[in-house]
């Protein structure tokens, strides 16, 4: 990067806000997906939306690609820098600007940590519902970009449900406001399409969030089953009974062992563990909890515990929330996969995963948001054993193919990023992807904002869209348009 441009950046963010030394840049060369690494030319740490705007204007003029970065916990390489590009870190934009309890809205800067929003409003009986397991470190800006989910999204909805408005610096440096404080602002639902766009449409500089009143009563049940199949049947039974629990999470034996080793949650040693949380009015919760209990027993639960205190409830969750990291205790290396299937396909897909895992000689630990069919197979391997890493990667991708074949998705919450951009073509046809990229062209015709992510091939903006050709799968009669 030429000295004049660097000088311009320095003038915007100050000496402290500009990182150019190789050793400091290392911190930024990857996100939570550490096998992809690219050194950025520079990292900028703006303190305000105006500084972001000034930076992006320079990038636009000089055609410098940029990647926004929150806490760098992303698991699909979304915040991976791009060659000859800069990173814009929101770490110093971490103020909660406004709390409006009456209207249940909070306005934050993008670098605010997810859990801090709940921390700010919980004394008043509110919480911020989307709760990724990484919530104590990940940023709201990152959550918005990934449309992050969490265990409680089954009932409360994902990040997108809780974002009312977004201030964005567009890739040409213009600042715009998508959505707003009130619902259904006139015009296209741009917050709807911006949330989950993985940093490819511009830089978020403020977010208007919705907060939720804490329910009167929360009860958490833990049930042990001999197999994940039995646990899966209990999940189906609960849903079929017409309940919408706040969360239903499942872990298999390998992940239970890992969680035990790491955080001592005192989970029973079993083949399939369910965590079911119900919340709402006390009378309602009490009677539904009885039903859940019955259903679990009828599906063969060998042990059932209901948390008797807030502390016990926290321990129940601790093991689940720590599961990813915990796997590090039982395997030197592992891949965190993220796929979705229709919930009813769970038993079949689990069997298939088991079969593939045995055939490849690679262990897979399973943790899922069972209520919404979101699987997190953790594929365990040892990099020092020749060939294992490759075999693990193959297995992880094969599992995604299973998800797509079952009518599901290649990602439920971690995003496509760098990692899955070749996989997205398994789920969508070329015209589908081209159509999505029309949005990209409207926001970022020069493809400066996190280019090279999400889509396998960039669309040339202004290029005439191609005519519809049937997808090969359709011609073969395999796939109907979903």
């Amino acid at each position: 990067m030429d000295a004049r441009t660097l000088q311009e950046f320095r003038a915007v963010v100050g000496e402290r806000g500009l990182i150019t030394s190789a050793e400091e840049l290392h911190t930024y060369e990857c996100d939570g997906l550490t096998n992809f690494r690219v050194m950025p030319e520079a990292v900028l740490l703006p303190e305000s939306a105006e500084q972001v705007q000034a930076i992006v204007r320079v990038c636009h003029r000089e055609r410098i690609p940029f990647v926004a970065r929150g806490s760098g916990t992303g698991l699909s390489g979304g915040a991976l820098p791009v060659e000859h590009g800069i990173v814009i870190s929101t770490a110093r934009m971490n103020r909660i600007l406004e709390v409006d309890l009456t209207n249940q809205r909070v306005v934050v800067e993008p670098g605010v940590i997810n859990l801090d929003v709940t921390g700010k409003v919980s004394p008043h009986g509110f919480f911020y519902a989307p709760d990724p397991s990484s919530q104590s470190v990940c940023s709201i800006g990152g959550n918005v970009a990934e449309n992050s989910g969490g265990a409680h999204c089954l009932k409360y909805g994902f990040t997108t449900t809780h974002v009312l408005g977004i201030e964005v610096v567009l890739p040409d440096g213009a600042m715009v406001h998508l959505g707003g404080r009130t619902l259904d602002t006139p015009g296209y639902d741009l917050p709807g399409v911006f949330v989950g766009s993985e940093g490819t449409l511009g830089v978020t500089t403020k977010v208007i969030l919705r907060i939720v009143k804490r329910p009167e009563c929360i009860q958490t049940l833990l049930a042990a089953f001999a197999t994940t199949g039995e646990a899966g049947a209990a999940v189906s039974g609960i849903i079929a009974a017409g309940m919408v629990p706040a969360a239903i999470e499942m872990m298999d034996n390998l992940s239970i062992q890992a969680a035990e080793a790491a955080v001592h949650a005192h989970y029973p040693d079993c083949g399939g563990l369910l965590l079911v949380e119900l919340d709402g009015p006390s009378a309602e919760v009490a009677s539904l909890m009885e039903r859940v209990n019955e259903i679990c027993l009828s599906c063969g639960a060998t042990e059932i515990r209901v948390a008797q205190s807030e502390a016990e409830r926290a321990v129940f969750w601790k093991g689940r929330k720590a599961a990813f990291a915990a796997v590090g205790r039982i395997s030197p290396n592992y891949i965190v996969q993220d796929g979705v299937i229709p919930r009813t396909a769970l038993p079949r897909i689990l069997e298939e995963i088991e079969r593939l895992s045995a055939a490849a000689g690679i262990k897979v630990a399973n943790v899922f948001h069972a209520g919404d069919g979101n699987l997190h197979p953790l594929v365990l391997y040892d990099r020092s054993v020749p060939g294992q890493e490759h075999a693990a990667e193959e297995l992880a991708m094969r599992i995604l193919e299973l998800c797509v074949e079952a009518g599901g998705s290649i990602t439920g919450e971690h995003g496509v990023g760098e990692e899955k951009k070749q996989m997205i073509g398994k789920m969508f046809s070329e015209p589908d992807l081209e159509t999505m990229q029309l949005v990209r062209c409207a926001f970022d015709p020069l493809q400066l904002s996190n280019p090279s992510k999400v889509f396998p091939r960039p669309r040339l903006c202004g290029e005439k869209p191609g005519r519809y050709e049937p997808h090969p799968l359709e011609t073969a009669g395999i796939a109907e348009r979903f």
Partner: protein, 434 residues
């Protein structure tokens, strides 16, 4: 705004060129192409032809043909809300989704459904009810309104408070674009972040980006028993607003909360509970405590028809949707009252706990209504709100259906130009002339 292109954002399909409609016959069958009649006009703008393709392939082919021949197209579902939005600049072809009426897949054990755009809401709900489920929205005129039309107009009622709007329930769409592309986005699982979320983009886009040919939704179980509704009369709109804010700020899990206010009687607040009998009972007790400063007046589920009743004999009235902060519902009522009294008008409001509401204005002189709407809108916009005029009586004069789209308008224009570069779809119907 360089991308705006002169005065007509998104380009303009020519209104006059000679067309050989036989080509359209060849695409979808002559039996399904007919001359348009007066009943097919959209906000007073007559169409030439109505076409009813059999499936989404035919629909996409017809749309592509129209696009290439510069024929302006209005997609149409049940036709219940064709009066919403601005009048089209031009119109020649109505593309009806009437025959796209299959429920493709109700995966009841997964709580999802995929249906074609022309399926009526009533038909969908009765199919879902067979498995004790529903799509948790309560749109207007459910017997005739179609999935595609409800999505395109983003119509929601009281259930929105608990279950979110259509944007929170739609999980996938297939779109026909003007160039004939059939593109899908989202999927049929409830959790999915692969690619951009186009289902949300087209929800509320009034058919200006593409024609929705099918959609997938997440479903909810039907409530286990008949729910219960309590109604309270408040001394003033501010008391009604206070009750709404207190109920919203309580841990109650109500599935409906609205205020009804009008020129001639005291405002009332309705709250609905669903769930187990014990749960409902306990919540009613809590709600009554919170409402101690109001007078309980009844228990009837009829009150939830109030939104639709605003449309009764709407020929002589304006009906508009507004959005304000929940704490400003009383202020919104006062604003409407002042504007109405100034013009000697009758007014009625149904406002939900979400801050979304509907207002009906009735005047002896339709021309007076325009002035009232303009002043009410200006006042709402000052408080971060908006006003969308869904129905205006004949003679009330031209008035933009939406107010200011804000500083993101240039992005909206660019989105329109990317999806519909020739301005084929519903030209001029949407915000700011899009």
């Amino acid at each position: 705004m360089d991308q705006a292109g002169a005065s007509s954002p998104g380009g303009t399909a020519a209104a006059t060129a000679e067309v050989s409609w036989e080509q359209l016959h060849a695409l979808i069958g002559a039996n399904y192409v007919r001359p348009a009649g007066p009943a097919d006009a959209v906000m007073g703008v007559a169409s030439q032809t109505v076409a009813e393709p059999a499936d989404e392939m035919q629909l996409a082919a017809a749309l592509r043909w129209a696009n290439e021949a510069d024929i302006a197209v209005a997609p149409r579902g049940g036709g219940t809300k064709l009066g919403w939005g601005n009048a089209p600049r031009v119109l020649r072809l109505i593309l009806s989704t009437k025959r796209l009426n299959r429920i493709v897949e109700h995966a009841w054990a997964d709580l999802t459904v995929v249906a074609e755009a022309g399926v009526t809401f009533g038909k969908l709900q009765s199919a879902l009810a067979q498995h004790g489920q529903r799509l948790a929205v309560d749109p207007l005129w459910p017997e005739n309104a179609t999935i595609g039309g409800i999505l395109s107009t983003n119509d929601s009622g009281a259930l929105r408070l608990r279950f979110g709007g259509l944007r929170d329930l739609v999980i996938g769409v297939t779109l026909a674009l003007p160039d004939g592309t059939l593109a899908k986005s989202g999927g049929k699982v409830v959790k999915n972040v692969a690619g951009y979320d186009l289902p949300k983009l087209v929800t509320g886009a009034l058919g200006t980006l593409g024609v929705i040919t099918r959609a997938a939704f997440r479903l909810h179980p039907l409530p286990p028993a008949e729910g219960r509704t309590l109604t309270f009369r408040a001394g003033s709109v501010s008391d009604a607003n206070r009750l709404i804010v207190e109920l919203q700020g309580s841990p109650l899990a109500h599935t409906g909360l609205q205020a009804r206010a009008r020129h001639d009687v005291q405002p009332e607040v309705d709250v609905r509970f669903d769930g187990t009998p014990a749960g409902i009972e306990a919540q009613c007790t809590t709600a009554r405590k919170l409402a101690a400063f109001a007078v309980e007046t009844g228990e009837s589920a009829q009150v939830w028809n109030a939104r639709q009743e605003l449309w009764t004999l709407a020929d002589t009235a304006a009906v508009a949707k507004f959005s304000v902060l929940p704490s400003r519902i009383a202020a919104a009522c006062e604003t409407v009252r002042r504007a109405a009294e100034k013009g000697g008008m009758k007014w009625k409001i149904v406002a939900q706990g979400t801050g979304l509401g509907w207002v009906r204005l009735e005047a002896a002189q339709p021309a007076d209504i325009r002035e009232a709407l303009v002043s009410v809108r200006a006042e709402f916009e000052r408080g971060a709100g908006s006003l969308f005029i869904a129905n205006r009586p004949a003679g009330s004069g031209a008035i933009e259906a939406w107010g200011s789209p804000g500083d993101a308008y240039p992005v909206m224009l660019r989105v329109k130009q990317q999806f519909d570069p020739r301005g084929t779809l519903n030209p001029g119907r949407f915000v700011g002339g899009i």
